[in-house]
């Protein structure tokens, strides 16, 4: 059974129809990519899945549970985490605090325990901090744990956002253009990291423009063009699909990114 099912979803903003009858089944334990030209509606799909926007029609279910009417923070707690295309960190907080925020709903103690720093508070905070440091070391940022996030380079910011999303202990990770602005060695490291995550049983659902990255990494690819899914399949099928080539060729300059 697929982990995330998007069934017949449409979305319009006023008169602007952004998505039409979109059907996507994202399996667990695999890396699934959503590609498509600029403005195709990819980020909108993520906004619908995470509950930031409501679909105009259709339904979205996660592990069999219908997400309609569920508040975004509750969707996160069900096990969906995301990163943003235009990176949204907490710039004045330290890296450690950024990641610890992701552990919000996993850290529990009473107000009284917090007020008097009782053992239950200290224990929960210590565990949360240790896990956050562990995640930071995964993305090789642990040496900067006490620096504030606005001191990071672009690539480092993406990595921090990645660690922060993992901190919510998701079952499905949504990554919106995770390697944009990264150099090729950073990309290779992140690719390895994403594979590791899949191998631990997480589902990964990512949006990416970098075709080399997508074709090398992903198990399945769906193509969105003008709000409609025009193709879906294994990377080789997508590479050879006439509709996909047409969609990209129609845009001239983008054609060369297809390997």
């Amino acid at each position: 059974m697929s982990m995330l099912s998007i069934r017949g979803v449409g979305k319009h903003f006023g008169g602007l129809q952004v998505l039409q009858d979109v059907n996507i089944e994202v399996p667990g334990g695999a890396i699934f990519a959503l590609i498509g030209p600029n403005g195709a509606g990819k980020t909108t799909v993520f906004n619908l899945v995470t509950g930031l926007l409501r679909p105009s029609s259709g339904s979205i279910a996660f592990q069999g549970q219908d997400l309609a009417g569920i508040a975004p923070h509750k969707i996160t707690r069900l096990g969906i985490a995301r990163t943003f295309q235009n990176i949204r960190l907490f710039p004045d907080m330290t890296l450690l605090q950024n990641v610890m925020v992701g552990r919000h709903h996993l850290t529990s103690y009473s107000g009284l325990a917090a007020l008097f720093a009782l053992p239950s508070f200290r224990e929960a905070e210590r565990r949360s901090r240790e896990r956050a440091l562990e995640l930071l070391s995964w993305v090789k940022l642990d040496h900067k744990a006490e620096a504030t996030a606005d001191n990071l380079s672009y690539g480092e910011q993406r990595k921090l956002e990645f660690a922060r999303a993992l901190a919510t202990e998701p079952k499905l990770l949504l990554l919106d253009e995770p390697v944009a602005g990264m150099n090729s060695s950073e990309k290779a490291v992140l690719m390895e990291e994403i594979r590791n995550i899949r191998d631990r049983g997480y589902g990964v659902f990512l949006i990416e423009h970098d075709m080399r990255f997508v074709m090398n990494l992903c198990d399945r690819v769906a193509v969105l063009n003008f709000g409609r899914i025009i193709a879906e399949g294994a990377p080789e099928e997508i590479r050879n699909s006439p509709e996909v080539i047409e969609a990209y060729l129609g845009r001239g300059d983008e054609a060369e990114v297809l390997p």
């Binding site: 903003f13 006023g14 906004n47 930031l52 926007l53």
Partner: protein, 293 residues
């Protein structure tokens, strides 16, 4: 009796509209909640009072003085404070806080210069004629107030609609960046907007000062709060909304004072404002914006 109240309501409402027009113009163009607009109102009133009492100038000169002094103060606040905050891309609340500071400075300066007591225009300066239509008495002063307010508002509408500068301003209200790309002198028009808005506020202050024949350093505070109610009623940044909202508030206030309770008139305005914010934050006439995810 009702007709008499309606005349009062129209007088008050047209001044509220004039005041709110400047307030909403600044929000529409500069995206600043300019809480010093009430101080412009007060300054205009004092400027006119000073000119007519100290220099023995006629009331028409007083009106010009009100526009000029308030306009220049508005210009100064823009050039000295708001401009720097724009350059720094400070979030919207920051300029609002700065204009609170400017209000405190101006109010305190007025208290120092003119004292805290109520000041009055000399009686011989005020038109005393009354027109009688059936059972309704209309003072010449009230006619003049409504006339001046509508004259200025019409002029502003025409300028915004039919001149090059007016079109440029509307382009800026849509998107300052795009306007700058079109070669529009955005900074210059920001300054002009601040001047115009403050000048209108100053005249509104003079008109209210004349209507109740009372000028005090603190007179800007209640009108500011009403101006806020009006622009929220009409939709922030919406010029026509400010006109209707101003008239509406004038009528609501006068009628509830007449028929409910004299003090609760003010509570009606703010109660209404509070409700509107909860139900329709974009205003009664405003478009509801979809929140950006």
């Amino acid at each position: 009796m009702l007709e008499q109240q309606l005349v009062n309501a129209l007088t008050l409402g047209s001044v509220y509209a004039l005041f709110s027009l400047g307030f909403t113009l600044v929000f529409g163009v500069l995206e600043v909640i300019n809480l010093s607009h009430g101080a412009m109102f007060m300054a205009g009133s004092f400027a006119a009072l000073t000119v007519v009492t100290r220099l023995k100038a006629p009331l028409a000169v007083g009106i010009l003085a009100a526009m000029l002094v308030s306009g220049l103060l508005g210009l100064a606040i823009d050039a000295l404070i708001l401009k720097r905050l724009r350059a720094r891309h400070a979030p919207h609340l920051i300029p609002m806080i700065a204009t609170i500071g400017a209000t405190t400075v101006l109010t305190s300066a007025a208290q120092g210069l003119f004292g805290v007591e109520v000041q009055r225009f000399p009686d011989e300066l005020l038109p005393t004629r009354e027109f009688i239509f059936g059972s309704v008495h209309v003072r010449a002063l009230e006619l003049a107030i409504v006339g001046i307010a509508f004259l200025l508002m019409t002029t502003l509408f025409l300028v915004l609609r039919h001149t090059r500068q007016g079109r440029a301003l509307r382009a800026i209200a849509e998107s300052p960046k795009a306007a700058a790309l079109l070669g529009i002198n955005v900074e210059g028009l920001f300054l002009a907007t601040s001047f115009t808005a403050a000048a209108l506020g100053g005249v509104a202050g003079l008109l209210i000062g004349l209507n109740f024949n009372s000028v005090t350093p603190l007179m800007g505070q209640p009108i500011l709060h009403k101006g806020i109610a009006v622009v929220i009623l009409g939709g922030m940044g919406d010029i026509r909304g400010a006109l209707f909202g101003g008239l509406f508030l004038g009528f609501a206030e006068v009628l509830s004072k007449a028929y409910l309770s004299s003090q609760m008139g003010d509570a009606v305005a703010f109660g209404l404002l509070f409700l509107i914010l909860l139900v329709r934050p974009a205003g009664l006439f405003g478009r509801v914006l979809e929140r950006k995810a």
